[in-house]
Amino acid sequence: MTSLAPARHVILRSPRERIALRLPVRALVVIGLLVLALLALSAVSLATGSYGVSLNELVETLRGITISRAIDNVVWEFRFPRTLAAALVGAMMALSGAALQTVTRNGLADPSLVGVSQGAALAVVAVMVLFPQLGPIYRPWLAFGGSILVAVLIQWLSHTREGSNAIRFILMGLGVSAFISSITSALMTYGEIDRALSALAWLAGSINAATWGDVLTLAGWSAVLLPALLVMSRAMAAMRMGEAAAIGLGAPVQLVRPALVTVAVGLAAIATSVVGPLGFVGLIAPHAARRLAHAGMGFHLVLTALIGALLVGAADLIGRAAFALIQIPAGLLTALIGVPIFIVLLARAQVRPQ
């Protein structure tokens, strides 16, 4: 016998077994707690800022009662979209990381480490600087196109005859990212100073300027991409066993692999198009989810999304509240948290003989 207590599960079966699920109790509890934490964080985020709002005032405002014009304006027009955008972006980056880690079977994968965010950034900055008349509506599409190109490039580059090694794949991504970033920087030098400045703010991964329009963009794309990810969750679980084993189990790997890459790139690209590159969220969230609760792929994805939302929400809140008038972009804070975790993960990386 083992000393480890077996994880407890609730088995849910409909009479004719159309629905038959084995639900991990711990994961369900953790999900509940994370939802509560996210709600609490959102409340604090809505109340905090240069214009303080008390909890009572906040509740009244959210119920549609106008206390003052200023409070209405601050809460509804600035903080609410910003809070929602932070949560959505966090969830999207986290899920993108989870999908990339599954596809590449590489625990170090993250959209910003493998060049996906940089590809989106280059495409957006190029258009911001070269064709300033084009509105921000096109940004998600541009970001998506740029990211897909980079993702394909890196897949092609890291595919060698001996198969791909986890660390080499990441290094390849870093090299490509450095190259793309240098082009982005050159473009910003070329552009007029004010355009370059707006691009610069965006590039630091800041959620400052999120509007309801941005929230709609994020929510609309999520409504398409998240169900797609859920449908693929079973195949993702099989693919964690390796490509050959997954095919042996009957998972449609040839179909799911490109679809999964597309969804992962899409999630990262849309999030990037709105707030700029946010590093390390996609790296941390899936690992944190695994530590918090052991669960099948479906619940794992839910946990990952919630953790990502909390992470970026907290980073945004700290970034704007910690130093009062100066706003620290959330992307810088996620990098500060993310790098030490990356190093720990690197130290534990399995060196796989392929």
Binding site: R168, G175, S182, I183, I326, P340
Partner: protein, 341 residues
């Protein structure tokens, strides 16, 4: 009984190696003059030569050359040479083709130390900057090394590079935050941090120059032993090299060269990666040749890059670091891809 094992690494044919030196010096000289000649106001090469040989303070063009253009060209030469030699030594001693002061976090460490000293202690003394940069570079080098040691499989080229990238990302985020928090202090550091040769203060060279010269001489003196070390620690020990003491001396040389370069020009990436690889194509595996060639070629390379940076998209000027990254990153990808491990 077996004298084959005792012979040092195969060296390039001396004639061929020597033949490149005058050529390289000629190219370096030409680029140096060209670098001074081009700019917002183009000057004829003849005027440049006049200004350098027979300076006339009354002549406006001569003043431009001596006060604005010459310092920048000198700094490009010094920084290009130092970073390339640092990269070559690191590649030799760690047997890591991906080694580069920028990639392994030394540059970020030096920048971070200077930024923090400026932000927290209001550092203004030029004399101290090289020392602070050196401390930062050394600390970063050690942290990166110990992280890589911690990775299963040990300090391989790949794990070292990845650890270097992680530390660089971390320090870059710290620098950005410090930047945001005290904007005033950073007015003069801002351009410096992008790795640009524009508007450099030549007085820094007065303080860093002597140290860089000593480190450069030390590098040339150690080059012969690096060739042996590059064949492996056991081989080197078998040939009578005291590897620990040698590695320590090389570390000192690399840190001083990197810190001096960062103090002069800010973080410039990929030069130390690119140049030794190019040089090796010509002179082979002998560090007695690689080190001096890297110095000359690195100086010429940075001059060329800086010329491009200034004339590519007038009237703007691209940061030199952007162009070195644009050239260096593809080579980096190629080297990672080629590694079979």
């Amino acid at each position: 009984m077996n004298d084959i094992a005792a012979s040092p690494a195969p060296s390039a044919p001396p004639l061929r190696a020597w033949s490149g030196v005058p050529l390289l010096i000629a190219v370096l000289g030409a680029l140096f003059l060209l670098h001074i000649a081009v700019g917002a106001k183009s000057l004829p090469i003849g005027t440049v030569v006049d200004a350098l040989t027979a300076f006339d303070p009354a002549e406006f063009d001569h003043v431009i050359v001596m006060n604005l253009r010459l310092p920048r060209a000198v700094i490009a030469v010094v920084v290009g040479a130092c970073l390339s030699v640092a990269g070559a030594l690191m590649q030799g001693v760690t047997r890591n083709p991906l080694a580069d002061p920028g990639l392994l976090g030394l540059t970020a460490g030096a920048s971070f130390a200077v930024v923090m000293a400026t932000a927290l202690f209001g550092l203004t003394s030029m004399a101290l900057i090289p020392w602070i940069a050196a401390a930062g570079a050394l600390a970063a080098a050690l942290v990166v090394y110990f992280i890589a040691r911690w990775v299963p499989g040990g300090a391989t080229p790949l794990s070292l590079t990845l650890a270097g990238a992680a530390i660089s990302a971390f320090l870059a985020a710290c620098i950005s935050i410090a930047h945001l928090l005290s904007e005033d202090t950073f007015m003069n550091l801002r351009v410096w941090l992008t790795g640009s040769l524009a508007g450099r203060d030549i007085t820094v060279l007065v303080y860093t120059g002597p140290w860089l010269a000593i480190a450069m001489l030390l590098s040339l003196a150690l080059a012969r032993q690096v060739t042996v070390l590059a064949m492996g620690d056991e081989v080197a020990q078998g040939l009578g090299v005291r590897t620990t003491s040698l590695k320590l001396q090389i570390l000192v040389a690399v840190v001083v060269l990197t810190a001096g370069s960062v103090a002069l020009a800010g973080p410039l990436g990929f030069i130390g990666l690119v140049i030794p690889h190019v040089v090796r194509l010509y002179v082979g595996a002998d560090y007695r040749w690689i080190v001096p060639y890297s110095a000359l070629a690195g100086a010429a390379y940075l001059l060329a890059v800086d010329i491009v940076a200034r004339i590519a998209i007038p009237p703007q000027e691209i940061s030199t670091g952007i162009i070195t990254a644009m050239v260096g990153a593809p080579l980096f990808v190629h080297l990672v891809r080629r590694r079979s491990r």
